[in-house]
């Protein structure tokens, strides 16, 4: 009884469907990869977080025991504290430093290209290599930093090996890799129309006002991007601490970061269920922080096409 007219496929719809099919075909490698390597593992992690599992054999369902275990795990709480400590200081510090460096390297001075190259080079040094270099730079007995401090009659601390100084030293080490955000800021700065500075200057704005009223608003989307990236990387801080400190987290668990502890649980002690619960919590944590940041960004990020 159905009318054939209703179901008749018009040429336009046919073309649209063919285009859609072609589009899906083109993006299918990515979609398949995403489903296999991100989506499935994500839900699998969620499942394993409710089990006891060593990697071999059948996982045993244990309900919320891994999550309640985390609540009562003192090392986990320490790891969370250390990670937040690092993130809260490192993110603003590296943002200001990278932006400041980019502003300096954006100045039209002689040898500008050489300076840019010099400041970028550290970020391409492998993390393990730069970590070992910093062990020597901050070596308390024969490192260059304490030698310089002793020249001004200051007894330097044990840096990476002091409970008090270990985290601040890792923050300093984090500044070594500023090249990446710096280049992104530099690119953004070069995208700010010169006319805006000319107009601001004509209206009597000084360098500080031009920075505040023109530069920062114009590159604020890039600042947001870098801040989110930096936040995520800080929360997942791992390699440097793992390379430098032995046993993991030393001295006195002062460098036991979230992922350091996760790694210990998953790959040293083979507590894959417990580690899955940690991984899932980490995901939730990053998600919440990112959403909050994006929501608040409406107040401070300027998008040209919004006309604000």
């Amino acid at each position: 009884m159905a009318s054939t007219a209703v179901h008749k496929v018009t040429p336009t719809r046919l073309i649209r469907w063919r285009q859609t099919r072609l589009g899906l075909l083109f993006i299918s490698p990515w979609v398949i990869g995403f489903c296999l390597f991100y989506l499935y593992p994500f839900f699998a992690t969620l499942y394993y977080s409710f089990t006891t599992f060593t990697g071999i054999g059948n996982p045993a369902f244990t309900g919320l025991s891994n999550y309640s275990g985390l609540l009562h795990d003192a090392t986990f709480r320490t790891a969370l504290f250390n990670t937040f400590y690092y993130t809260i200081i490192e993110v603003p510090l590296s943002t200001v430093a990278a932006l400041g460096l980019a502003l300096l390297l954006n100045l039209n001075v002689r040898g500008q290209v050489i300076y840019r190259t010099l400041f970028y080079i550290p970020s391409i040094v492998p993390v393990v290599a730069s970590s070992l270099i910093f062990v020597w730079i901050f070596q308390p007995s024969f490192g260059i930093v304490n030698s310089l401090l002793s020249d001004v009659h200051v007894n330097g601390p044990a840096w990476f090996f002091s409970i008090t100084w270990s985290k601040p030293t890792f923050i300093l080490l984090g500044l070594w890799g500023l090249g990446q955000p710096m280049v992104i800021y530099l690119a953004a700065l070069q995208g700010v129309p010169k006319e805006m500075y000319e107009v601001a200057a004509l209206e009597g704005a000084g360098p500080w006002q031009r920075l505040r009223k023109v530069t920062i608003p114009m590159i604020s989307p890039v600042i947001l991007f870098n801040v989110i990236l930096s936040l995520v990387l800080s929360i997942q801080y791992f390699t440097q601490a793992q390379v430098i400190e032995s046993p993991a987290g030393s001295p006195g668990n002062s460098t036991m970061f979230f992922v350091t502890y996760y790694y210990q649980q998953a790959f040293t002690d083979l507590h894959l269920g417990y580690a899955s619960a940690m991984a899932f919590l980490l995901f939730i944590l990053v998600l919440i922080i990112t959403v909050v940041l994006l929501k608040t960004s409406r107040r401070w990020v300027y998008y040209e096409n919004e006309g604000r």
């Binding site: 992690t45 071999i56 275990g69 044990a158 995901f283």
Partner: protein
């Protein structure tokens, strides 16, 4: 079949969830191993290790020799970084494509044997291999046994003793090395040099990077279990003596020692340390320190060191059984041939060849027969300090930690506790209680 399905996704999942949280790059794939079926009468087997550098060269020599003397088996070696070695093995087992032979540090064996990750070797201990267990040193055999069943066979053993720097001893006005713990403490105290907050020379610092586990045998604290088989270090007199011994060094600056050792350890692929650099009076270490690390990293120290048994408190020289053990993962395609290769690597009916390589690796033989070979005796003759190690191998006081399903947790806890004692954040008794809690709880899933 179900078991095969689970582990790879779990490891991948845990890793990928992190990657997802990072909005980062793709998760690492587990890769493949290339165990091929036999063809033309030759069985191809794969040997996976976590070694690199000079040791890898040594392994290749072993493989060449084995392949040339065993026309029916062909071995291929693959090396992966130690940081991911275990995870990769688990992924491969879960995927049903493990290597035939995997070299593993033996404390992990208990955990693997307990959950069926590795195969028992009992079925192969027949015929010409019936005498293998008796052929091994008792401490070498114990290092591969879980609940009385053989799961791993060593290819070289570790042994531990006390090194001393001759010129530093002389400079401190000491005529002979110490024979008691008290004398060691007094002697090493004369060798420390700290000036203006800078550590210039270490006397002796017992626990850095060698947690309590390495000192257990010297205090009769290797197997401290209660009647129900649980770890009970807090009530074990040997463990208490050991923890107090470590605590007796807490007046020295642990943070500066750690900083020195980490800096030296970052050089020469970790083969360097303060003793090798000539900046430490005493160190407790294995034969590779004198056989490999010193000649390669600081030849100036060759001839300037001596080795004595650790001046222990329980009646005589001892060491503890530990080493690199070869295992057959669950699902290995050619377990029979894998076992044949493993026995050969141990030096079983192959003593002369294997012991000729030990000087290069700084290893101890796995059996008295290996120690008796002309090649090994020649090495001992040219390096008499090695005798200390070999004598300890057959000492009745030497022990092997019993392999348990929670050895990893135990080892991690001992390292953390040692550091806590050094940092004075816990008393020796608190540290021992912490070890028991961690090792017995097997915290988390």
């Amino acid at each position: 079949m179900l078991k095969k399905i689970y582990a790879a996704p779990a490891i991948l999942a845990a890793s990928a969830a992190l990657a997802l949280a990072a909005c980062g790059g793709p998760a690492a794939s587990s890769g493949t191993s290339s165990t091929s079926a036999s063809g033309g009468g030759v069985v191809n087997i794969t040997w996976q290790t976590m070694w690199s550098g000079n040791t890898l060269t040594l392994l290749n020599q072993m493989i060449s020799q084995f392949n040339s003397t065993h026309p029916d088996i062909h071995v291929t070696e693959s090396s992966i970084p130690s940081a991911t070695g275990d995870a990769k093995l688990l992924s491969e087992i879960a995927a049903g494509d493990p290597p035939d032979v995997f070299t593993e540090w033996n404390p992990v064996l208990g955990e693997y044997a307990g959950d069926g990750t590795i195969q028992s070797m009992a079925p192969y201990l027949t015929g010409s291999y019936a005498g293998l267990e008796k052929w091994l040193y008792p401490i070498a055999l114990a290092g591969g046994e879980y609940n009385g069943t053989l799961y791993g066979v060593p290819m070289g053993m570790n042994s531990w003793a006390l090194y001393y720097n001759k010129s530093m001893l002389k400079a401190a006005g000491i005529s002979s090395p110490p024979t008691s713990l008290a004398q060691l403490y007094t002697d090493q105290a004369k060798e420390w040099k700290i000036s203006g907050g800078k550590l210039e020379q270490i006397g002796f610092y017992p626990s850095y990077n060698q947690g309590m586990e390495y000192f257990d045998s010297f205090f009769g604290a290797v197997n401290c279990f209660d009647s129900s088989g649980k770890y009970a270090l807090a009530t074990c007199p040997g463990a208490q003596a050991e923890a107090n011994f470590l605590a007796s060094y807490d007046s020295y600056p642990y943070s500066l020692v750690a900083a020195n050792e980490t800096a030296y350890g970052g050089v020469a692929g970790g083969d360097d340390d303060a003793f090798v650099a000539g900046k430490e009076g005493f160190t407790m270490d294995g034969p590779w320190e004198g056989a490999q690390n010193i000649p390669v990293t600081n030849p100036a120290m060759v001839g300037n060191f001596g080795v004595i048994p650790f001046p222990n408190t329980v009646g005589g020289p001892s060491t503890f059984g530990q080493g690199n053990y070869n295992i057959i993962p669950k699902g290995a395609a050619h377990p029979q041939q894998a076992f044949e290769f493993i026995a050969w690597l141990a030096g079983y009916n192959n003593e002369s060849f294997m012991t000729s390589l030990y000087p290069k690796g700084g290893w101890m033989p796995t059996s008295p027969a290996g120690a008796a070979t002309p090649a090994f005796q020649a090495w001992l003759k040219s390096n008499p300090w090695l005798n200390v190690y070999i004598e300890q191998m057959s000492s009745p006081l030497s022990q092997t930690p019993k392999l348990t399903a929670h050895e990893s947790e135990f080892f991690t806890a001992e390292a953390t506790a040692s550091e806590a004692i050094a940092e004075k954040s816990e008393t020796p008794q608190q540290a021992l209680t912490y070890i028991d809690q961690q090792a017995n709880s097997g915290a988390g899933g």
